[in-house]
Every structure is written in structure tokens, then in C-alpha cells.
């Protein structure tokens, strides 16, 4: 067990270092910073509203800025999670570095786990930077929020675990592009099939129900957005926690299934 943990750590550190050197990371990060900078031009509006004594408008502009930072950064994290998960194994196969790893006494689950841990650690650090910046901005502009924001942060972190895990899991038996797209679609599925759950045709209803339960749980509200309003639509924290927990379990289930498949598959080394 201890030996496996050392192996997981070694593989995770390597995956982390590898990710840090990916051009796509810098591209996405720069793009996110650029968009945040563009959106922050709302400061002009804030100044105008403050000078005009429109305090409600000024408060809404201020909270909007913090929300924008969080949402743009989270979108960047989701793009990275899908991409990094999808190429987590395939990049090693393409570079053939996997040969020297799997010729060692390393279990396939240990390998896959190490790659995932490396990617998730990277994504969490990336997200924490965004969260930290948003909190600093909230402090500077005295933006008020309710405690569900912390659950919103937890949701952000769970989302990257889920998306990177699902795309990594799918990538062990499908091309990375399809795996990334598949993971994205899977997360969108509850929203897409919701309207078909009451469809008059039984077959469509059953199909929609099956897809609904096969896909990850969706959060009933936008926790980040609603943390800055005074009234919550679903002020039920235990429901939010349950969704987060279910999605973590979902990620674990996908990972276990991926390990089982990966253990039986030959890496395409030719």
C-alpha cells in the first residue's frame, strides 16, 4: 500500500510538471485573464454609479465583477479539466513514455490514479488562484456574500474532479477529442433530457430517465450567482452537499470502471 502511494505520488508529480509545461494551459490562462480585464471595465460604470449616488447599482456592479472573475476562471478550469483529462494518458502513449512506466511494477490503477491526482492537483491550484483573486477583489470593493459561496467554491473544485475524471476515464478506450466532448456532454445531459422526462411516448421517457440517472447530478441552482443575492432559491445546504457528494462518488465510479477497462487494454504503441 505504502509502495503504491509512493508510485502514485511520483506519477502525480510528473503529470503536474508536464501540465505546467503545456502551451494550452498558458493560452487558456492568458485568455481568461484578458476576458476578466475586459469585464473589469465595469469599474467605469461603478465610478459613475457611485458619483451619481446610485448605491444599489454600484453594489450590483461590484458583486458582478467578483462573479465574473469566478465564472470566467471556472470556465477556464472546466476547459482545462476536459482537455487535461482527455490527454492525460494519450499524451504518454504518443510520447511513448508510458512504456518505461508500465514496464515497472506499477499497476494500471496506480498509473491512472497518479495521472488523475496530478491533473486534479494542478486544476485545484489553478482554481484556488482564481478564488483567492475573487476574494481579494470582494474585500477591496466590500462585496457582501452569503455562506453558500463556500459551497459554490466546493462545487467548482468538485466539477474539475468530475470532468477531468470522466474525460480521463473515457480516454482509456476512445480518442482524446471524443473523450473530452463525451465528458462535457455527459455533464450537460441532465439539463438536456429534463424536458423529456414527462414525454408522452414511454420509450422516450424511459430513455430520458436512463440518461438522467446515468449522468452526473446537476446542481439545482447557481451557487456562485446566488451567493451575492439576498434571497436563495433553494436555501437547502444539505441538498447542495448531497449533489457534491454524489458527483464525487460518480467520479470514483467512473475511475474504477476506467481502471478495469485500462487493465485489459493494450496501449496503442505501434
Amino acid at each position: 500500500m505504502a509502495r503504491s502511494l509512493v508510485q502514485v505520488r511520483a506519477i502525480a508529480v510528473t503529470a503536474f510538471q508536464e501540465t505546467l509545461r503545456r502551451k494550452v494551459f498558458y493560452l487558456v490562462a492568458i485568455l481568461a485573464i484578458f476576458i476578466i480585464a475586459m469585464v473589469s471595465s465595469g469599474r467605469v460604470l461603478l465610478q459613475m454609479a457611485t458619483e451619481a449616488g446610485e448605491m444599489d447599482t454600484a453594489a450590483s456592479v461590484r458583486s458582478g465583477m467578483v462573479q465574473n472573475i469566478l465564472e470566467i476562471w471556472q470556465f477556464a478550469a472546466i476547459v482545462l479539466a476536459l482537455f487535461l483529462g482527455a490527454v492525460g494518458v494519450s499524451s504518454e502513449i504518443t510520447a511513448k513514455t508510458i512504456v518505461n512506466v508500465l514496464s515497472r511494477p506499477v499497476g494500471r490503477a496506480v498509473y491512472l490514479g497518479g495521472r488523475w491526482v496530478g491533473v486534479v492537483t494542478f486544476l485545484w491550484l489553478f482554481q484556488l488562484i482564481g478564488i483567492l483573486v475573487a476574494l481579494v477583489v470582494a474585500r477591496i470593493f466590500d462585496v457582501r456574500f452569503v455562506s453558500t459561496l463556500w459551497l459554490g467554491f466546493a462545487k467548482m473544485l468538485v466539477d474539475t474532479v468530475l470532468l477531468s475524471g470522466v474525460s480521463l476515464g473515457l480516454s482509456v478506450f476512445m480518442p482524446p477529442v471524443v473523450a473530452g466532448a463525451g465528458a462535457f456532454l455527459l455533464q450537460m445531459t441532465p439539463g438536456l433530457v429534463k424536458d423529456y422526462l414527462q414525454h408522452p411516448f414511454g420509450v422516450v421517457r424511459i430513455l430520458a430517465l436512463a440518461l438522467y440517472y446515468l449522468s452526473p447530478a446537476s446542481m439545482p441552482s447557481n451557487l456562485i450567482q446566488e451567493s451575492f443575492t439576498t434571497q436563495l432559491l433553494h436555501p437547502n445546504s444539505s441538498l447542495y452537499s448531497q449533489v457534491l457528494f454524489e458527483n464525487l462518488l460518480y467520479s470514483a465510479a467512473v475511475f474504477i470502471a476506467a481502471c478495469a477497462i485500462f487493465a485489459r487494454r493494450e496501449p496503442r504503441l505501434r
Partner: protein, 310 residues
């Protein structure tokens, strides 16, 4: 110390492996009905032209590929089992690794994957770097290494955990003569330590220098499996190198001068050798050397030659 009691380290029985192309719906048979047994402590060469199935067989030994038919066992365990991999060191034809790490970090990484303790890694890394002539690379990122240095690093990582079985896939590719000699010396040292070496190569001089047994593979099938001793014993042909010819000597040698050669020697059988030598000396020829013919190359050309692809 490695247990040198008799027993096969590698057992391959009726190995068959094909690769299917999904789009073209074609099938390429890379290895067909390969059977071989490698005894503990021996150095076995696996030779054959490109595409003969050498790397496919090696990947099957490591459990990276699963046989379509037949079985592969290492140390009596199924190939690819954690137990078998724990006792095996592998060097790939081209050592693909993480260019952003230094040589020390690369070796430490593979040491951790090989379940070595931190103390053992701390001792083994500088030892192997020094052994492979890479001590001066301290602190340098691997992506700046030359091809030869990468090959040396690849061998260092294979040797790092003192494996009982070394699987080397073209270990001398890209190495200069000094590097090739170093690899040959290391193989000899490892053999003395009791390590079993399975060496894939098509540099026959390296094979002759280091191996006990040779297996020639052609188009996925074993066409020859013989001990080097027997090959040398069975070699009935001798080559007499002539430094200075005389007209009489050339007349005397006659048909013994091989056609298409550079005319610097004659070839004869063991039975004729003494008589031919005597005739040449009497005819005034100056003899440079008398040696057995380079049999492995001939055997290779006889069994594997003419197949450019497998």
C-alpha cells in the same frame, strides 16, 4: 545475490500476435508461433531485420501486449504480472522520457516506480550515472542530451534496481564505438552477477561479443535458435588473409578465392586448411591471419536476409 539454480527465466510457447487496423479492416501478423526458453544467467540475442517481430515479442514479455495465442511467462509468472516486472529491467530502443527532468530526477522517478527505498535510490543513482559515464551531466535537463547520452540513461534506468532479468531492445542504437564497448562490458558484468540478459539487436558484432545464444527471427517466426558455442563449433569454414600475393600462390589458390570479394584472402574447410596454408606459403604468399569465417553474419543472411520487412 541472484539464485543461479537451473530454471527458465523466460518461457514463450506458441506466441502469436496480430494487429488489426480498424479502418482498413486489415490484419498484420507481427509474431507467429514463437517458442523459446531462456535459462537463468544466460545472455540471449534476439536478432532479425526491422519488422521481424522483436519489439512485439519484447512488449509481450513486459505485458504491454497480450498474446492472441500461446503464453509468455517470466520467472514462472504470467508476463506483465507485478512480480515479474519487479525483477525485470527494460531498456527500449529509443529511451523516451520526460525532457524537463534532470538525469538524477529521471532515475529517481524510475527508482520510486521500482519500489526502491529513498536510501537505495540515493546510492544507486550516482552509481549508475558514473557507470554509464553520465556523471558530468549533473543538473542538466534531459531534453538537451544527445542520442548517445539518452541511450546511456536508458540503460542506467534499466540497471537501477539491480534486476534479475535485463531486456534490452537495441541498446547500442546511436552509440559511438566507445559507448558500444561500454554496453558490451556492462552486459558481461551483469552476466557475471548472474543476471539473465535478453538482447534484441541487429548489430551482429555486438551479439557475437556478448551472447551465449542466438535466436533469429524472420517475419514473425523463429528461423534459428542456437548456442553461440555450437555455431562456432559447427563453423567449418576458414578464411586465410593474404598480405602479399605471388603469381604462383594465386594459381595455387585458384577457386578458393571467393568471387565478388576484394581478393585479399581465400576460404577453405577445416580439412583442407593445413594443406592450403602449406601450398600458399610454398608459393611465396605472405599470410596475414587465419581465422574462422564470420559465421553469425552468414547465418543471419542465410536465415533472415532478403526480408526487408516483416
Amino acid at each position: 545475490m541472484i539464485d543461479l539454480s537451473a530454471g527458465a527465466v523466460i518461457e514463450i510457447e506458441g506466441l502469436q500476435k496480430s494487429f488489426r487496423s480498424w479502418f482498413r479492416r486489415g490484419e498484420t501478423c507481427a509474431v507467429r508461433d514463437v517458442s523459446l526458453r531462456v535459462e537463468r544467467g544466460s545472455v540471449v540475442a534476439f536478432v532479425g531485420p526491422n519488422g521481424a517481430g522483436k519489439t512485439t515479442t519484447i512488449y509481450a514479455l513486459l505485458g504491454l501486449l497480450r498474446p492472441d495465442r500461446g503464453f509468455v511467462r517470466l520467472f514462472g509468472e504470467a508476463a506483465g504480472s507485478i512480480g515479474a516486472r519487479r525483477r525485470t529491467g527494460f531498456q527500449s530502443e529509443i529511451f523516451y522520457t520526460y525532457g524537463f527532468k534532470t538525469a538524477e530526477r529521471v532515475l529517481a522517478f524510475y527508482g520510486e516506480l521500482s519500489e526502491m527505498s529513498p536510501d537505495r535510490i540515493a546510492k544507486a543513482v550516482p552509481r549508475q550515472l558514473s557507470r554509464l559515464g553520465l556523471s558530468q551531466t549533473e543538473g542538466r535537463k534531459v531534453h538537451g542530451f544527445s542520442k548517445g547520452m539518452m541511450q546511456r540513461l536508458g540503460l542506467a534506468q534499466a540497471l537501477l534496481h539491480d534486476p534479475e532479468l535485463l531486456i534490452l531492445d537495441e541498446p547500442t542504437t546511436g552509440l559511438d564505438p566507445e559507448g558500444r564497448k561500454l554496453v558490451a562490458d556492462i552486459i558481461r558484468e551483469e552476466k557475471e552477477r548472474g543476471v539473465t540478459v535478453f538482447l534484441s539487436s541487429h548489430i551482429l558484432s555486438d551479439v557475437e561479443r556478448t551472447c551465449d545464444h542466438v535466436v533469429i527471427l524472420r517475419q514473425g517466426s523463429v528461423v534459428l535458435s542456437e548456442s553461440m558455442d555450437k555455431l562456432k563449433r559447427d563453423s567449418d569454414e576458414w578464411e586465410i588473409e593474404i598480405l602479399t600475393w605471388t603469381y604462383a600462390a594465386r594459381e595455387s589458390a585458384g577457386a578458393l578465392i571467393p568471387e565478388g570479394g576484394d581478393g585479399s584472402g581465400v576460404r577453405c574447410t577445416s580439412a583442407d586448411k593445413d594443406e592450403v596454408l602449406l601450398r600458399l606459403l610454398q608459393a611465396g604468399a605472405r599470410i596475414g591471419a587465419v581465422r574462422r569465417r564470420h559465421t553469425l553474419e552468414d547465418l543471419y543472411m542465410q536465415h533472415a536476409g532478403g526480408s526487408s520487412s516483416g
